[in-house]
Amino acid sequence: MGEDHHTPGFWRRYVFSIDHKVIGVQYMVTGLTFLMFGFCLIMLMRWQLAYPGEAVPVIGKIFGENNMPGGIMLPEFYNSLGAMHGTIMVFLGVVPILVGGFGNYVLPLQVGAPDMAFPKLNMMSYWVYATGGITMLVGFFVKGGAANSGWTSYPPLSNLATTGQTVWLIGMVFLITSSLLGSVNFIVTVAHLRSDGLSMFRLPFFVWAQLVTSFLLLLAFPPLEAAGVLQLMDRLAGTSFFMPSGLVVSGVPQTVAGGGSPLLWQHLFWFLAHPEVYVLILPALGIVAEIIANNTRKPPWGYRTMVYATIFLGFMSFIVWAHHMFMTGMGTKLSAFFATTTMIISIPSVVILTALLISLYQASIRFTVPMLFALAFLPMFAIGGLTGLPLGLPASDIALHDTYYVIGHFHYVVAPGTIFAIFAGVYYWYPKVTGRMMNATLGKLHFWFSFVFINIVFMPMFWVGLAGVSRRLYDQTVYAHGKAVQDLTITSSWGAWLLGLAQIFFIINFFISIRRGKKVSNNPWDATTLEWAAPSPPPHGNFATVPVVYRGPYEYSVPGQDKDFLPQHIAAEA
């Protein structure tokens, strides 16, 4: 069956392509760029944190007199950088990379499909995301600067904020729409496009992780979209959804109708934002599971257990959200409910982590670059998860809520957690996408320097938080307890700048290897899952003949076989 049309032109092939692989690369490159940009924002902020009130050397003047007069950061600019750092990293960086990048590229290949269920919808999802991303960046150039009420945008502060907040809300509407369209695509693809013999329990864990993630995105994002609409109404139409009666701002009584509830925003926001954190971790766990299976040369321990734990985690993630709101005047019954569900949800996380750890037992471990990142992920995710415990219990949360302890906690999960998984995935699937390997020496340098410095950035934050230093402080030395731990803050800043430098190994490697990497054929890692059955890179349509699946996804070191791996699509020997 030949192609019945001419090869599409430049725009159809590279810009508005409906091929999931092109779209995946678009998401990946855009997402990694935003990730780097978001990281640059925090590197800038960390100067002010370490040396409050001092002009930023060399580059200080380029930010203009509105933001950094004489190179010294203004508090309003600091707050903008903070809000945008969080927003960009989560919504423009990590999720598009994990779901739009890895999910789009790898998932159809792993289920043996020629493409996603709705290729045109896929293309639209990317462009809506790109539009949302650009909208977010526009915020920096409007009067009053970008949004500066935290990525959490609590009203009334965000209601009263400058134009940048409106731009943020519009950007969020685009980003949420993109996610919703994407999640529909993923679910239908997994349900309908699996090739023959690929039953649900023969799916790679990566696919399960993406499937549950898609349900979280589908069902959790709309309340935030609703909240965004309500806040837009408050800001543009003068409504009082989030504005209580009797507000007096800077001595001026507000003339709104009143009767609104700031807590309404918090409930709607966290209803999304809690499942969102599982969106940040599940695909990462999927990537790590694939790489661990491949580099231990044995099936991971407890595949079914991990699948059930993931599904349970997905359900539970919808009923823990108010553990972000313990300090809002919550009574004992409600806080007991949410503390209990929070304790319960820690169990499937522990199960999955333990399963991956046990997978190292009686293995044959190859320390490839992807494996280094995947291995480091495990203890880093453990630290992040464990430090969630004092935060999830209301009594201990009193001392730790909205301190640097929280910042340390969630960064451990997302930074040396998810982002390391992202690096692992890039090194792992780069040969599939480009047909060439990334340089292993540069990869190892990237790993070791990143691992050391990322811990230097975030580990001190637990002590800073225990000491009582609040989040989002332009200058913590105002407080005696803050001044006492300022040296730890300086340490974190230097760690961050050196971590930034360490990424140069990765950036160079990423670009040079496109031309100079070692060429490989379709399965350089001796892996078993279906994406490695296709050529590197796969052509339009992925597989010359649709692969038939004969066994589970991780048949490594099967007794009685010559090779230590048995791909899913190879018929059994006679």
Partner: protein, 206 residues
Amino acid sequence: MSSETLPYTVKPHPVTAMYSGKFGTWLFLASEVMLFGALFSSYVLLRVGAPAEGPGHWLSHHETHLSWKIGGFNTLVLIISSVTMVMAWASLKMGSLQKARLYLIITAVLAVLFVIIKLSLEYIPHIKDGLVPSHSNFFALYYTMTGLHALHIIGGVVVIAYFIGPGAKLYHKDPEYYTNRIECTGLYWHFVDLVWIFLFPVLYLL
């Protein structure tokens, strides 16, 4: 990449018993339930939290100046449009594009009628009386919820217009595929109707 090489674009899948577009539509509608559900939940929270009297109190029926007769009529308009939507799909199943087109046109006209009634008999007179969104939380919610709903109606009309006009070409190329798309549009349309069935009593009667 043409959709002919993707399986289950027309044939139903053995497990889900749906073709892909239908499954996708149902999933999309689940997210819409969460969207409108969030707004209904906001209504509950704001109404329950409002003081009994004084500034910020919840408006009584008398104060809202909302006519249940107009709202009721509009409800009827939408229900009939849902019926005509089904008739359009049924006509296609029985092989008549002409009849289907007629029913689609009636559906679109009824939808536009709904919006016109809303604008001319409700929104505009209310705004003239100063009953604008910023007036009170009741009106803030009223305009936001009915406004979002109306946007969904307009979106639906655009899709239906496409299938009456340029989209109808697909019927001649692949009648079953075209029929399926009308079915999915119908699913979306019934959902939009259902949202109104909840909005009407909550805003006009309670």
